[in-house]
């Protein structure tokens, strides 16, 4: 698969308004977990949306190895998976129905679909909740269902947009452990979060962005070698003023 390279990626939404991403250049190494940090409105979700193919109109280039990401996505649609920040599933369907639906929408069928639904449910530990309606699940189960849907196609690049928001410490610990195990399988994971201790715990590389610009990027161990921790570095670069 190779390294994910972002070169001078800029984006602005239609109509009046400031640029959301301004010449973002990042190198996301193959394998491992890359933490993308930034205050609210920094451009993290926009960047994830561009990588996931939800947003068009960005300038600059994004490539996976030697191949433009857009071409790779067309050639091998299963190469990239997204776990969005929202509970992006159908609340009136059961967990099993949601998994089957999103699996089928990604081209899975028959025995393969059955097998992947079972595997994703097992990985996210939602087997006991498969028959329950999604809107009646706890916050932790909803997050795990969201993750399971993203893993149905076994993507080589996985985009995780704040996957632990609103869950209890037990579920968070489980999710972080799961994400770490996913990276262990040679998968490239782009991970955004506001919880800096999570990032410190599971990420190999990080980038901090604000106002659409990359403020710092590199191996986590190098970035925090001199300082007292990621929290201090983050506050020092993004300042204390409120953003929303």
């Amino acid at each position: 698969m190779g390294t994910l390279n972002l070169e001078g990626v800029s984006f602005r939404y239609p109509g009046p308004g400031e640029t959301v991403l301004d010449k973002v250049t990042l190198v996301i190494p193959a394998g491992g977990i890359f933490g993308l940090l930034g205050p609210n409105g920094a451009g993290k979700t926009t960047l994830i949306s561009i990588l996931a193919g939800q947003l068009r109109g960005a300038t600059g280039s994004v490539s996976a190895g030697d191949e433009p990401l857009e071409v790779l996505r067309r050639r091998r649609p299963h190469s990239l998976g997204l776990v969005p920040q929202d509970y992006a599933f159908y609340p009136m369907l059961t967990c099993a129905e949601n998994l089957r639906f999103f699996g089928a929408m990604q081209g899975l069928g028959g025995a393969r679909l059955k097998e992947r639904v079972a595997a994703a449910a097992r990985f996210a530990r939602i087997e006991s909740a498969l028959a329950r309606r999604a809107d009646r699940l706890s916050g932790g189960l909803k997050r795990r269902l969201n993750l399971a849907i993203g893993l149905l196609i076994e993507p080589e690049i996985l985009l995780l947009d704040e996957p632990t928001v609103g869950v209890d410490p037990q579920s968070r610990a489980f999710l972080l452990e799961s994400i770490r195990s996913l990276a262990g399988a040679g998968r490239t994971i782009l991970y955004t979060s506001h919880y800096l201790e999570e990032v410190e715990a599971i990420c190999d590389h990080v980038a901090i962005i604000d106002h659409g610009r990359v403020l710092v990027s590199g191996a986590l161990s190098e970035l925090i070698r001199e300082g007292s921790g990621l929290q201090d570095l983050f506050m020092q670069l993004t300042h204390r003023s409120l953003r929303d």
Binding site: G53, Q54, Y87, A88, F89, Y90, M92
Partner: protein, 397 residues
């Protein structure tokens, strides 16, 4: 194909768990069909079904009796004469009876006087209930004038020395007049107006579940997720088309069944089914495409559930009010009838009436069907255009 089937299955599952949505689609039109078919049955039967009471107040009991006999029938029923004019006015004010004909003294003799252009003809007074339909009042007025003409002709003939009987000039006996309704084996009835009308109304209400689920999909991020999975927007729209087409066909079958079974069970008339089922299916399909197109357009334009419900619901009610669903078009004034031609529900109703009432052929449903299909295509194109313009799937920041 696998993805399309998955989308259809998802829509069916989502709709099957939306009890309110199912009630709106199936119970509401069925309830309207029963209630409105019964409520409007007299309007569609014409004067004969409505029994309007009248009384005649005349000093001469023989004349009063003759007038009562001549005026009775065809929806007008004689009531006892009030004691005096004050009682008559009081009774009419309360609607019992609805009409009182006040005949002055010496009326018959005055009728015998020659009409020479100098004398004024004798006067009659008709006291009328203000709640009486104008057509009923007009019919009774014409009947009174006809009877009075008969009396005058008889009096003139007597004056000329020709023996005659006023009863001989009763309009009801003048000729035998038979009315033949052209087209259709049965004449239009309340149930034949109301079944297609409220079926169309119910079919257009797919706008609510279509747009509501679409707003939920956008709000919850499922649409964005599907886009990231390379699902084209046109496929998502097609994913709505199949299930709601099936819903509309099911509505049509159930509402026709309601007209055949439910309405007569409540005491109304039985719906006469058309001979050409293929044409009925064609009109139903075209109406369905227009309704689903409307649903998709509202879905794409609405940002919130409230917007979807208000735009879809109010739009349907306005189209129904204008299009002859709530009030039959033949009772509307001319200007409103012209305006109703702009309502898609009126086009659909024209198509259904051509098949159900008039036993029409393919050429009779062609115009309404073409209009409905053109509307469906325009709404679908508009939905795609609005989606493109507003980038509805990509508003996350």
């Amino acid at each position: 194909m696998r993805r399309l089937l998955a989308l259809w299955e998802k829509e069916v599952l989502a709709l099957s768990r939306d009890i309110l949505g199912l009630a709106v689609l199936f119970l509401m039109p069925a309830a309207f069909i029963v209630v409105m078919s019964l409520a409007l049955s007299d309007v569609f039967k014409g004067g004969a079904a409505r029994q309007t009471e009248f009384a005649v107040m005349a000093a001469d009991p023989k004349l009063a009796d003759r007038l009562v006999r001549a005026l009775s029938g065809d929806g007008f029923r004689a009531a006892p004469a009030p004691a005096d004019e004050a009682a008559a006015r009081d009774g009419v004010r309360r609607g019992t009876p609805s009409l009182v004909l006040v005949v002055p003294r010496d009326f018959e003799r005055a009728l015998g006087a020659p009409l020479d252009g100098k004398s004024t003809p004798p006067g009659l007074t008709l006291l009328a209930d203000p709640g009486l339909p104008p057509t009923q009042l007009l019919a009774f007025r014409q009947r009174v004038l006809g009877v009075a003409l008969g009396l005058r002709v008889a009096a003139t003939m007597r004056r000329a020395g020709i023996a005659s009987n006023a009863d001989a000039f009763d309009l009801k006996r003048a000729v035998t007049l038979s009315v033949e309704t052209i087209g259709g084996t049965a004449r239009p009835s309340s149930v034949q107006q109301n079944v297609p009308a409220w079926l169309i109304f119910g079919m257009f209400f797919v706008v609510i579940p279509i747009s509501s689920l679409f707003v939920v999909e956008r709000r919850e991020g499922t649409l964005a997720r599907l886009v990231s999975q390379q699902v084209p927007f046109t496929l998502l729209l097609l994913g709505k088309l199949g299930p709601y087409f099936a819903v509309n066909l099911t509505q049509a079958v159930l509402m026709l069944l309601a007209g055949r079974t439910l309405v007569p069970w409540f005491g109304g008339e039985t719906l006469a089914l058309p001979a050409r089922w293929d044409l009925l299916a064609a009109v139903t399909a075209c109406t369905s495409f227009a309704a689903i197109g409307w649903g998709l357009f509202v879905a794409v334009c609405s940002r919130t559930l409230e917007q979807a419900t208000v735009i879809g619901g109010v739009g349907n009610i306005l189209a129904a009010a204008v299009g002859g669903i709530m009030v039959p078009r033949f009772v509307m004034p001319e200007g409103m009838q012209k305006l109703s031609e702009a309502s898609p529900m009126a086009w659909a109703l024209d198509g259904f009436h051509a098949v159900i009432l008039r036993d029409g052929g393919a050429s009779d449903i062609a115009a309404p069907c073409v209009k409905l299909l053109a509307l469906a295509a325009a709404l679908l194109a508009a939905a795609l255009w609005v989606h493109h313009r507003r980038r509805v799937l990509t508003s996350a920041q």
